[in-house]
Symmetry: C2
Subunit: 574 residues, 2 copies
């Protein structure tokens, strides 16, 4: 006889598991409950709905063949019983039943299950500050709130907005408000950088500079202490330790937390931070109860540690694996690299695996190769520089992560996705050095950027390439007394280096790349030269040459001026 | 004491090896000889130079920092001795020396080596037909020929062109001539399809249709038997078994062959088809002599067999590995997947690994999952359908290859590069199902196209999805008597299916996807229904449902009308 399946949550993991299960076991009875009326939507599309790129919210709930995924759709097309506006109140593990209540009729019923799936998702973190309840203050909790935000903007009610939280959603919302609606938008982030934990600081700096160029006002190390009332219950501003920001719209995007109250009340193992613990088959500590999506703790494939990666893409993968296992197919979910990508105006920023900071914190003998290659053949018309950083472990030579910042196209996807595939397989620097990137000039370089980054990493591991610490170099540019023996050796064309030589005198030596083999005797042995060019490749070659001479101390500025010019530092000329 | 290195060939593998070697062993004496005056160029960029996308040939020989890589550059910037216009005549393995002749002075000298690298590249296959020597007939042998072609076009001397050879270079040249210069261009290919061996027939059909839409005249199964003389030594046409084509320019792009005469004369092991045989360290049968680039035989990572993949990207990888090994770093080159990508007007076509046809020929229990997903979130404005085919082995579940045809952007790079990375690691369908593709709506779908293709493959392996053979279906549409019991079950919206139902009567049943669970009793048990929708996903769901009922024979048309509409078949309505 067919089994009875109950699924709590109908956004991503839930509907995916339900649909797959009905295909694997057409005779099983699958019931999905969700407290919302709008279900099975692409939550990651919300910023694009608010911006107007996606004109109607129903598109976020539609299939690729333009049918809206409502309860009727699941009933008739999928054979899934879908109970919307229905809240799960309690799980009785003994009797294997879930008590649910219809939020319109208040009618309650017990749903009996053989297997239960908790796909309860996440809830936005509500800031513990005054004013969170004011009119005009929103979290991105569900599609209804997004619809409200857009309606308010479309009615011309918003001229100044503050977005609290510099994670991906906050940044995407800031772009949507600024770009499409021309709203003066300020982005606040408590941490010292945007996208904390997702990218290293210099990548966040590049992103910040681009956001500022596009008109977003960005304040990091700054948190809201109060949302201000206009006297009539409507928000009129945001107070921080540094200032008061006027605002008629406040979006709080301060991260999300797993919704795990039901699991906790049912006595299942839940991490202190709220993630429901599951095994590789995504079973909770009760083998009849599975969990998937934004409510679970997952394992990092890099550290083996518990981590939290609330992503629609993972939720869908997990939902499918739950269906498999319920149906007797022993699929496993081994863990995550944690790939991330986002559009920010005309740029793309992405990462997979560990940042340098996270790798150090994880006890790795970590270092990083920072490069600035072209995103396709450098002679091809539309080519542009991309900043690419490979994080690796010097001891094992394992690659731990990749970060990229470049133009808004799919070229970064190609590198980050390839990296994630290799990292999940324990890929080493040598694997990255050899990985075959399909080559034609409109798409890539004969030596692809990801191969080139691996070459740099290899040269670092083998101690042929010694880099200057980027932060230390930036600090020295602000105050050269901190490293009195340093000077820059600028290998660029004299037309590029002349203004710097003029400004910094003997602290900035111009010597064109092609002349070093003839002019190296002009360099002084008491000085440590920071070798600098546009991308870092010439600098490395000159380092090797100078090291062979053996008398000239030197370090390479990896990524060269291509990185520096994107950081928004003040000392750059022109 | 430093060793002496001689390198023959200065296009890709040679200069790469030389430069790397001087970085690893600055005190070694590295000499490169090449019979050409133009060296170290991006040969893959030639079509883009001819088209005008790249305005000057020197850009193909320039570094990313815009310095031309001539002999002087190698001398002064790299410390490499570069002898251009110098032909290697013979290798004396006993004395470890190479006899070379300067083509201008005719002076000869012996170059002594500790290690020798053969980077002699490839030569275009010259067709054994009359007229190959006529004025106006070109092979793409080197940059000089490309410069001549472009000069001729720019002078307005070309109004009709024939390109012989429907491989990547032939197609790129046909695009260059048609698109930028408005030249009436005919593309001839001897094989039954364009890109033979690189993609399966239906992918070649999609490409052909797009080329034809863009004005290229394509004839497959047609070869040139003679190039016609206008009586003054200039080409005026191309004769084939089917017709005479007028032409004032003929480009012969009929593939390339390894240049291995020197190796052969020196008694090194050379395959019958000309590839120089090397071990994983890229040593020939003489351990002091290495070979790399378009002149060597490589190993397929899929079949373990000897294969030939003349690609600039591989030449660069190999050159680096040669330098490592000469310098004592034990790098290895294990083999190739054979990734390939190209722009064709507004489309991109790419592949890695084995085609279905090659997989069958290689003895695999091969099948393919043909899909037609969106290249990014289907609700995102710029999304477009991409045709993606995963080739796999049913027994081992190993993925053997991926082919893709879609819009001209980098989204296909992302999938093909990820696939190549996994295939090189022996990736299975399950690996493809789980591989983490960085997700945000502007870049991908929550279930990425590559994951979805793996799901289809898995469902095929597990016998949940049974597909109709595409060629058989196309044949049936031309002559329905070959399968009298077949009928189409069209799940699309009635507005989409109505015209077909009207035209084909009881051979074309329209039943909207969402109604099948209510209307399935209208289907007849004596008929085999070919289930069809736009992308194939609805069809699979309905197959599972019908199979569960157990009375209705059926097969799925994988990829659905999205594939069919790209093939250029005549029976499509609108």
């Amino acid at each position: 006889m067919g089994k009875k399946i109950v699924i709590i949550g109908a956004v991503a993991a839930g509907p995916k598991a339900a649909s797959r299960l009905k295909r694997l076991r057409p005779d099983w009875e699958v019931t999905v409950v969700d407290q919302d009326s709008l279900i099975s939507y692409g939550g990651c599309g919300i910023p694009y709905y608010v911006s107007g790129d996606v004109s109607d919210e129903s598109e976020l709930r539609a299939t690729s063949f333009h049918v809206v995924r409502d309860a009727d759709f699941f009933e008739h097309s999928k054979g899934v019983r879908m109970l919307t506006r229905t809240r799960a109140l309690a799980i009785d593990r003994e009797k294997k039943q879930v008590l649910v209540r219809n939020l319109d009729s208040n009618a309650e019923q017990q749903l009996v299950y053989d297997y239960l799936l908790l796909a309860t998702g996440a809830k936005p973190f509500e800031l513990p500050i005054p004013g969170m309840g004011l009119d005009g203050v929103f979290t991105i909790a569900d599609l209804h709130r997004a619809i409200e935000i857009k309606a308010r903007i479309a009615q011309g009610k918003v001229s100044r907005a503050v977005v609290i939280g510099g994670g991906a959603i906050g940044i995407e919302m800031a772009e949507a408000l600024t770009d499409l609606w021309g709203i003066e938008t300020t982005l606040l982030e408590l941490a010292p950088q945007l996208l904390p934990k997702l990218v290293d600081r210099h990548f966040a700096m590049m992103l910040t500079r681009h956001l500022e160029e596009k008109g977003v006002i960005v304040h990091v190390r700054e948190s809201a202490s109060e949302l201000l009332d206009d006297g009539q219950g409507k928000v009129c501003g945001v107070k921080t330790a540094q200032r008061v920001l006027e605002a008629d719209l406040v979006i709080v995007a301060a991260g999300v937390r797993p919704r795990s109250e039901l699991a906790q009340a049912a006595g299942l193992d839940v991490a202190s931070w709220g993630g429901i613990r599951v095994n590789q088959r995504l079973q909770t500590t009760d083998p009849a109860i599975y969990a998937a999506g934004d409510c679970i703790a997952v394992t990092s494939l890099l550290t083996g540690q518990e981590t939290y990666t609330p992503l629609g893409s993972l939720a869908n993968r997990e939902g499918r694996i739950v269906a498999d296992n319920m149906a007797g197919i022993p699929s496993r979910f081994n863990g995550v690299c944690g790939s991330f990508i986002m559009k920010a105006f005309e740029r793309c920023i992405a990462a997979t695996g560990l940042t340098y900071e996270a790798a150090l914190a994880g006890g790795f003998d970590a270092d990083y190769a920072l490069t600035a290659p072209s995103d396709r053949a450098h002679f091809f018309p539309d080519q542009a520089v991309v900043i690419l950083q490979l994080v690796f472990d010097r001891r094992s030579r394992r690659v731990l992560g990749l970060q990229a910042f470049g133009m808004m196209n799919d070229s970064i996807s190609a590198r980050v996705d390839t990296a994630a595939a290799l990292i999940a397989k324990g890929g080493t620097i040598e694997d990255f050095s050899l990985v075959e990137m399909a080559y034609a000039p409109p798409f890539s370089s004969a030596i692809d950027s990801i191969n080139a980054a691996a070459h740099v990493a290899e040269n670092m591991c083998d101690k042929r390439l010694r880099r200057v610490d980027l932060d230390r170099f930036l600090a020295w540019m602000e105050d050269m007394s901190i490293e009195p023996a340093w000077a820059v050796l600028d290998l660029r064309h004299p037309l590029e280096s002349a203004a710097y030589v003029e400004k910094y005198g003997d602290k900035w030596v111009g010597m064109e790349y092609g002349q070093v083999r003839r002019r190296h005797h002009e360099l002084s042995s008491g000085i440590t030269y920071i070798i600098l060019c546009n991308a870092g490749t010439r600098s490395y070659e000159v380092q090797v040459f100078l090291d062979h001479l053996g008398t000239i101390d030197n370090l390479v500025l990896c990524g060269g001026l291509n990185v520096i010019s994107r950081l928004g530092v003040g000392w750059l000329l022109k």
